[in-house]
């Protein structure tokens, strides 16, 4: 259900036209900003993040991380959310990704085949998993940072919410025990 329809479906509240106008004005601002130039990531880093995010959450029968413009969200987080040392660790992690890819395949990750890129991502994911399984701190591992930002960025995006999770802003009812294949989840 589209938001405007959903809001209408609520009915009754005289204030709805006003608030929905505000909602859509805000939406336009955010979407206008999405095409702007990056504030932290340079073109190469941008391409590296986009490629890796799309390996983590690829397009399948629904859109993937790239379609959801996850890289723009990651750039915002690097610019305005993380402390400088965490931002720098993340960026150093991107350089490390290229070093690993170079060592294996003689080229940067963005120039690799999908299978080559996936082998580097798999090694990094295993590294984080080993830390987690050994109860070692892993939150600051650059690949964990990237994966976390990718997951959040994708599932909170408009395409992720509407196409993948079937998120409904206004469910209209509570179903306490519905078939999993039922009318959408959260």
């Amino acid at each position: 259900m589209q938001r405007r329809e959903a809001l209408r479906a609520l009915g009754g509240a005289a204030a709805l036209p006003l608030i929905s106008r505000d909602l859509f004005a805000l939406g336009r601002q955010v979407h206008a900003a999405a095409g702007a130039t990056r504030r932290v990531l340079d073109a190469h880093q941008d391409a590296t993040v986009t490629a890796m995010a799309d390996l983590i959450i690829p397009a399948t029968d629904t859109p993937g991380a790239k379609d959801a413009n996850v890289t723009a969200f990651i750039d915002v987080m690097l610019a305005d959310w993380y402390d400088p040392e965490d931002r720098d660790r993340f960026l150093a992690g991107l350089a490390d990704v290229d070093r690993r890819h170079q060592a294996l395949f003689g080229k940067d990750l963005v120039d690799g085949t999908a299978a080559q890129q996936a082998s580097v991502v798999a090694a990094l994911d295993d590294e984080v998993t080993r830390l987690r399984d050994a109860d070692q701190p892993y939150g600051k591992h650059p690949f964990h940072m990237l994966k976390r930002l990718t997951v959040i960025g994708y599932y909170t995006s408009e395409v992720g919410a509407e196409k993948e999770t079937k998120y409904t802003i206004i469910p209209g009812r509570y179903g306490p025990c519905e078939p999993v294949a039922g009318p959408g989840g959260h």
């Binding site: 805000l26 959450i57 991502v121």
Partner: protein, 560 residues
């Protein structure tokens, strides 16, 4: 000569809205003073703004919060949507005694914290009103359940409470709209508890101030899930959605936002408060407003602060404080003893919609028996559910398989989370810190508060019994814990101007009227003589309505 109102109400939140409604409906020309800004639902409610329209997608403006809201951010509701309903900590400082901490989580706006409250509503019983008289902590309440029961009815009928009647003596039933539904995991736990604990430990759906049917011009809940962001259909109770509009409809209410109460004005000859000194929050000019009676509904800590900041030659330790009890006996609810685990609820079933409510297990300790380790008791909140995409952050894997795995809901889990009664103890108190002033030049509070052995024993047993119940109903991977939360975190602070039977040992009489000054009423959480373990707002509201009607009667009889 400035206008004299019939009544001034300081505060427009949970209790201020009720005082305003009751006083104006009885014809009193009432001025409501609110420290913060106006709230307009059409502009300020943001419950339907989706995460993709927020800059940090729900991850909060972390750096800004570290500067402006280092204390407020400890509240789950102080998020990217609702942080605007919490105060700026730099403008609103307070200090704590060395070696202690207290989280004062506050909202300053029309509606106060009723905008972001947890909406859980549980009546007290005589088990609670008689507690002090039985074990000697604090002073005896001057009222019993029979005194407040009609006022619980009155409040509940107006605000609309959904819940299930249980017939338990320790948790009286109310005037309920249809209950919300338990989900499949919660039903399993409920049935398992019935089987293993008989009627001793009972699980019910939370009793909450969220409508399950249209009520008094407000619409039934549409399960969008984030009440603390506002509600354009007015489906949960807050003062903006219900009590303030009722007061406004009388034509008798004047609501003045941006009015920071500084102190009370006292006329020694008449022994009456004659008004309130206010700092205009915008111009910072000092103003005075006059009235025949004054209701303090400013919150537990603010009402105590106001009295302590209003000393006179006759009340050198703060107005209405001949007992010395103003600011004393600060309580919260200790929370965070509990347990969680996995439940074998049907794997092919899940929930739809976001129910803004959980489960409740009424107090079962020290109800009939006597526990050797602690006085009083605790109740559990909590609930069951299945994980969403968020678990992908910590799951191994990537690619189509990873993505598809997150499309399925995660395992069913269930948690019990305890809220325990805090004893009234004089060593938990507030005083004025003369060296610290807020943004309006008003001296701030220094808070001395810590939990004692009884509170920690309650949480230890809450954790133990939560795990015991999960084990009994066949849960797996049970994790039992006791969080070390600072006082204040439950945002149920109360007790700094207690009611009592003796003016020497209490601040307020049985009608929330100051023993020392008959036209001064205090009806927010500060009036509480003990804390129970139930979420307190409904009791504050009932006491407010009761006190307002008493005050009106007294005025009619020319006693005030």
């Amino acid at each position: 000569m400035a206008k004299t109102y019939d009544a001034i109400v300081v505060g427009s939140g949970m209790t201020g809205g009720w005082a305003a409604k009751e006083l104006t409906e009885h014809g009193l020309d009432t001025l409501v003073l609110e420290a913060g800004r106006m709230i307009t639902p059409e502009a300020d409610y943001v419950e339907h703004v989706p995460p993709w329209e927020k800059k940090f997608r729900g991850e909060r403006d972390r750096k800004k919060q570290l500067v402006d809201q280092p204390i407020q951010k400890e509240c789950y509701a102080c998020d990217e949507w609702s942080s605007k309903f919490f105060v700026n900590d730099r403008e609103n400082p307070y200090t704590t005694a060395e070696g202690t901490s207290f989280l004062w989580l506050r909202g300053r706006q029309v509606g106060g914290r009723s905008i972001m409250w947890g909406r859980q509503v549980y009546r007290w019983s005589d088990l609670d009103f008689e507690a002090n008289s039985h074990d000697g902590y604090g002073v005896d309440w001057p009222i019993r359940y029979a005194d407040i029961a009609p006022w619980y009815d009155h409040v509940e009928e107006f605000i609309g409470i959904s819940g299930e009647a249980l017939g338990l003596p320790q948790l009286p039933d109310g005037k309920f709209l249809p209950p919300m539904e338990l989900n499949c995991a919660e039903r399993m736990v409920r049935d398992g508890l019935k089987q293993h604990f008989g009627g001793e430990r009972v699980l019910t759906i939370g009793r909450c101030a969220v409508l399950t049917a249209d009520h008094n011009g407000r619409k039934a809940c549409h399960y969008c899930g984030a009440c603390e962001r506002g509600c354009i259909t007015l489906s949960y109770f807050n003062s903006i959605n219900a009590t303030l509009p009722a007061a406004r409809a009388t034509g008798k209410m004047t609501l003045r936002p941006y009015s920071v109460a500084h102190s009370l004005i006292y006329d020694k000859k008449k022994n009456r408060v004659t008004g309130v000194r206010v700092i205009d929050a915008v111009t910072k000019h000092a103003l005075e407003f006059n009235a025949r009676i004054v209701f303090l509904c400013a919150s537990t800590l603010e009402s105590a602060r106001l009295l302590l900041n209003s000393p006179t030659p006759d009340f050198p330790n703060g107005l209405a404080n001949s007992s010395g009890q103003v600011g004393k006996n600060l309580m919260d609810h200790i929370m965070g003893g509990g347990a969680s685990g996995r439940i074998d609820a049907p794997a092919d079933r899940t929930t739809f919609g976001r129910r803004p409510n959980g489960i409740y297990v009424p107090r079962f300790r020290n109800v009939k028996d006597k526990h050797p380790d602690f006085l009083r008791g605790f109740g559990f909140q909590g609930g069951g559910g299945r994980g969403g995409w968020g678990r992908g952050i910590d799951d191994a894997g990537f690619g189509p398989e990873f993505k598809n795995s997150l499309r399925e809901p995660g395992p069913w889990t269930f948690g019990f989370y305890g809220f325990g009664e805090c004893l009234p103890r004089p060593e938990n108190y507030v005083e004025i810190d003369p060296d610290t002033k807020d943004a309006w030049g008003i001296p701030a509070l220094k808070i001395h508060c810590s939990y004692g052995d009884n509170e920690w024993a309650l949480m230890k047993d809450a954790s133990y019994t939560a795990a015991e119940m999960l084990d009994a109903v066949g849960a797996h991977d049970i994790d039992a814990y006791v969080e070390r939360n600072a006082p204040g975190k439950a945002i149920h602070e109360m007790g700094t101007c207690r009611m009592g039977r003796d003016p020497k040992t209490s601040v307020l009489n049985a009608h929330n009227q100051a023993w020392d000054i008959p036209n001064l009423f205090i009806t927010d959480g500060s009036c509480m003589a003990s804390s129970g373990c139930q979420n307190p707002s409904i009791t504050y509201m009932a006491l407010t309505a009761r006190a307002a009607n008493y005050a009106v009667d007294q005025m009619k009889q020319r006693a005030l």
